[in-house]
């Protein structure tokens, strides 16, 4: 007899999915059940996308997912239990065995370990309810901790101390997080002329009226009068490139999806932001959520999509609630839903919460995650523009990329293309952390150099040694690169990559072996495990780095071989990039003993 859900588990699922309709999906069996069909295979497949939300509901309410709760979810959604277990066990924020219902995830990633996380974790090492984990996207207020508190809203504490962590776990005492404007030095200093961040810190993120008073929805109204085709043309002319890491021209994607004849198309906003050292999207979502709602609506209008999905990483409870409130306000005001502003165009947004898996930021893994499957990337082609979410043509863009659309539609693609550099138009929001005096996000017109950005962040604490640009999937730039303009083209020509705009500065006291080991562990931990080069290669890379740290001098050729096979033969960008930071640390002599 399969285990049954207890009443609390059942109630949590029924609150999300509504009561079961019949004996077929977990309700009480009646005589009628033998005589009617309930949706069949199509009905069942249609509900699979609710698997992750249902697992989250149990995780949130109960603190772990029991066999009984899983069985009930599977009955309700017609998902095989083995499949559901495969999905749940993929995510590090979902627990499939009993554990404490109050868990602290303390970040021990690059910025935090340089800001005291290691010491905190040592002090708390005897607590089973304190886990370590990768970057929480709070690097400007390192060290950070994320709390999963069953029955309560999840919380973030940053900067965290040993006693603050104990207070949350033992006494339920949580300090309110600092508003983004206060933890963002550029805004604190009243910087003018910002574009993507123009409203952050000025607008009340929870008020539609405030958004409207700050120029909100001018772009959508303009778009609706221009017509979809013209919007796509402006976006193309802007030469805007994606800010999520791949730097792909946005206009080309939009044009491709707009040209698809399919009836169902989707817009997806990638707010998974899990690249170590990246926290800009969090600041943007918390500070100006309506801008994203508006930009997604414009995207839907331009390409002919009626539904948008906003996929946000599970460690951003504050950003998620501010976005959800914005969606609700927009709906109430008729700015989402059927017939927006009397245009005949209808659009709405669904929010999906990631559950602790860096790989779900990869676009096709993200689609699988939304669809209720394991977050495993798909082999491309087909590209998302042809077969994306639910197999339909899909535009997927990063949060920052999308916000740029507002300026493009308002001022025109040409004007936008006139700013920044030839191939990198507009502005870029950089995430500065590590050994700088004023860590935070900084928006600059493309063209500013590494040195200029470090100076904006108050300069380096101590003697500058290297900056990790682009995050764990990036590379180290040394002192001879301080003049390098941080544009897509200049970094590419320098053999580096801008990635999502991470700049982590390190001074000469930094233990680079420790740091690169953490990067190696990150890739081993976060590999989805699907393909051999990456699943085994990231493990072998880490083992080799451990030997290197222990004094072995002979790891270079092995690391190079692993790097080559991972970048040549892995399925996705994760495996392709898993060796970049390690290789650049070796090349620049930060590790490997040749400095």
């Amino acid at each position: 007899m399969p285990q049954a859900a207890n009443p609390a588990e059942r109630a949590a699922i029924d609150a999300l999915l509504g009561p079961p309709a019949s004996g077929w999906d977990g309700g009480t069996r009646t005589d009628l059940d033998g005589h009617v069909a309930f949706g069949g295979l199509h009905g069942a497949a249609a509900d699979r996308h609710l698997l992750l939300p249902a697992l989250w509901e149990i995780q949130d309410q109960i603190g772990h997912i029991s066999k009984g709760a899983m069985n009930y979810i599977c009955e309700r959604l017609s998902v095989p239990p083995a499949d559901a277990y495969g999905v749940a066990s993929f995510y590090s924020l979902l627990a499939t065995s009993d554990r404490s219902s109050r868990i602290a995830h303390v970040c021990d990633d690059i910025a935090c370990r340089n800001a005291g996380a290691t010491e905190i974790l040592e002090e708390l090492s005897d607590r089973a309810d304190v886990h370590t984990g990768p970057c929480l996207g709070q690097c400007e207020r390192a060290p950070a901790a994320f709390f999963q508190l069953a029955g309560q809203r999840d919380r973030v504490v940053a900067p965290a101390t040993t006693s603050a962590i104990q207070d949350v776990l033992d006494l339920n005492r949580v300090a309110e997080p600092t508003p983004v404007a206060e933890s963002t030095p550029q805004l604190r200093n009243g910087a003018q002329d910002l574009s993507v961040m123009a409203r952050v810190g000025r607008v009340d993120p929870l008020s539609l009226d405030s958004y409207l008073a700050h120029g909100g929805y001018i772009a959508l109204r303009r778009a609706l009068t221009m017509g979809p085709q013209a919007v796509v043309t402006e976006v193309k002319e802007s030469k805007l490139r994606g800010r999520g890491g791949a730097a792909f021209p946005m206009g080309i994607k939009w044009e491709a999806v707009a040209a698809e004849p399919a009836a169902d198309k989707y817009v997806v906003c990638n707010a998974d932001e899990s690249e170590p050292g990246t926290f800009k999207d969090r600041v943007l979502i918390e500070g100006d959520p309506f801008a994203i709602v508006e930009a997604m609506t414009i995207a839907g209008y331009a390409v002919g999509a009626g539904t948008g999905y906003f996929y946000i990483r599970g460690e951003y409870p504050d950003a998620q609630s501010s976005f959800e409130e914005a969606v609700q306000s927009a709906r109430r005001a008729g700015l989402l839903g059927a017939d927006i502003e009397g245009s005949g165009f209808g659009f709405d947004i669904e929010v999906r919460r990631g559950a602790g898996a860096y790989i779900c930021g990869e676009e096709t893994a993200l689609f699988n995650s939304i669809e209720g499957f394991r977050g495993e990337p798909r082999q491309k082609p087909p590209f998302p523009t042809q077969a994306g979410l639910f197999g339909k043509p899909t535009v997927i863009n990063n949060v920052e990329t999308l916000i740029n659309v507002l300026a493009i539609v308002t001022a025109g693609g040409d004007t936008f293309a006139g700013t920044g550099s030839a191939e990198s138009t507009g502005t870029k929001v950089f995430c500065l952390s590590g050994h700088v005096h004023r860590p935070g996000v900084y928006e600059v017109e493309f063209g500013a150099s590494l040195g200029e950005l470090l100076a904006m962040a108050g300069g380096v604490v101590g003697d500058f040694k290297a900056a990790l640009v682009g995050g764990a999937a990036g590379s180290f730039l040394m002192g001879d690169r301080l003049d390098l303009p941080l544009t897509f083209e200049a970094t590419r020509n320098a053999g580096a990559s801008l990635g999502s705009g991470v700049i982590m500065a390190f001074n000469s006291d930094t233990d680079f072996v420790d740091l690169v080991l953490r990067i190696g562990a990150f890739f081993r931990d976060e590999s989805c495990g699907q393909c051999v080069p990456c699943r085994v290669g990231t493990m072998r890379q880490e083992e080799s780095l451990l030997r290197l740290a222990a004094g072995s001098g002979d790891e270079g050729s092995l690391l190079a071989d692993v790097a080559q096979v991972m970048s040549d033969s892995s399925i996705c960008g994760f495996g392709h990039a898993a060796s970049w930071a390690v290789q650049s640390a070796l090349r620049s002599g930060l590790i490997g003993g040749s400095s």
Binding site: K67, M70, P80, P81, A82, D83, A84, Y85, G86, S89, F90, Y91, S92, T96, A357, R374, Q379, R524, D525, E526, S527, C528, G529, Q530, C531, V532, P533, R535, V536, G537, T538, M539, R540, E543, L558, D561, V562, Q564, V565, S567, D568, S569, S570, I571, H576
Partner: protein, 286 residues
């Protein structure tokens, strides 16, 4: 009056493979096109009767214009495609993928073609040292029919596909966990007899590494009596129902030791049910 063609007519697509102009029907994969030319391409996770999952990455080829290598088993050919299967880069990658694989799992029971490829690419099983972490674990014997030794599992997803959408539609197993720690599992690692498993044996039949094995074979191997060279294979039709599945009876010393079905058989595509697979005791009831 035109005759009605049998089967869908397929346009021929031309491409070059290793400098040779070749053609293959539209919809073929690069692997299909290579095999038409008798070009040997290693494969592990690919099987004719399953949807390609392209996870093993031993079938990689170079395609002009692609930054990375491309899995030949799933890439559809297009007009003018330029493919290289014989470059240094391809050989290096295949060799390394095999070396990574053999460093992480026990490959002692892989089939002859796989051993051939490993020899061809001069795979060094010790490339990553003897301390390299493996997926070695306790063998699972939970019933009289299957043995599951996931220390040999290469995560080719074949068993999952055969159990699920591609054949059995039972969905008793799936990949669980993540990264190096992922593995094939029932829900919560429930013992197989308590899971949804119907013991069709289709997972065992498709497993390329011997991670899944019929218990008869496992026991005979354990006592040292398993001898494929002493086995004959007799094709017959399953006596149980009217579907007409072809069975291949593997017989050693006048005992049926294993039952399979030909992969190119249009009734079964190689898949069977529990009766055809295991219901042979009555034949031997002498």
């Amino acid at each position: 009056m035109t005759a009605v063609p049998l089967g869908e007519p397929r346009r021929l697509v031309s491409l070059t493979i290793d400098g040779q102009e070749v053609t293959a029907p539209e919809g073929s994969t690069v692997l299909d096109a290579c095999r038409r030319q008798d070009i040997d391409v290693p494969t592990l996770c690919y099987l004719e009767n399953l949807t390609p999952v392209n996870t093993c990455r031993v079938c990689m080829v170079e395609v002009e214009g692609s930054r990375t290598l491309v899995p030949s088993c799933s890439r559809e050919i297009t007009e003018g495609l330029e493919v290289r299967t014989d470059s240094e880069r391809v050989a290096t990658s295949r060799k390394l993928v095999f070396e990574l694989l053999v460093s992480s799992i026990d490959m002692s029971l892989v089939d002859a073609p796989t051993l051939g490829w490993m020899n061809h690419y001069e795979v060094d099983a010790e490339r990553f040292g003897s301390a390299a972490k493996t997926v070695d674990q306790e063998v699972k014997i939970q019933d009289d029919l299957y043995v599951r030794d996931y220390g040999k599992c290469m995560l080719c997803y074949k068993c999952v596909e055969a159990c699920g959408e591609d054949a059995q539609n039972t969905f008793a197993i799936a990949v669980a966990g993540r990264g190096f720690d992922s593995g094939i599992s029932t829900e919560f690692d429930t013992p197989l007899p308590e899971s949804a498993c119907v013991y069709c044996g289709n997972c065992v039949a498709v497993c390329p590494t011997g991670a899944l094995m019929f218990k008869t074979e496992y026991d005979m191997r354990a006592e040292g009596s398993w001898d494929e060279s002493a086995q004959s294979v007799t094709t017959t039709i399953c006596p149980y129902c009217g579907v007409g599945c072809n069975l291949e009876l593997h017989v050693q010393d006048n005992e049926i030791v294993k039952v399979t079905s030909p992969i190119d058989h249009d009734v079964t595509s190689g898949h069977l049910c529990i009766k055809g697979r295991f219901g042979y005791e009555h034949v031997q009831n002498r």
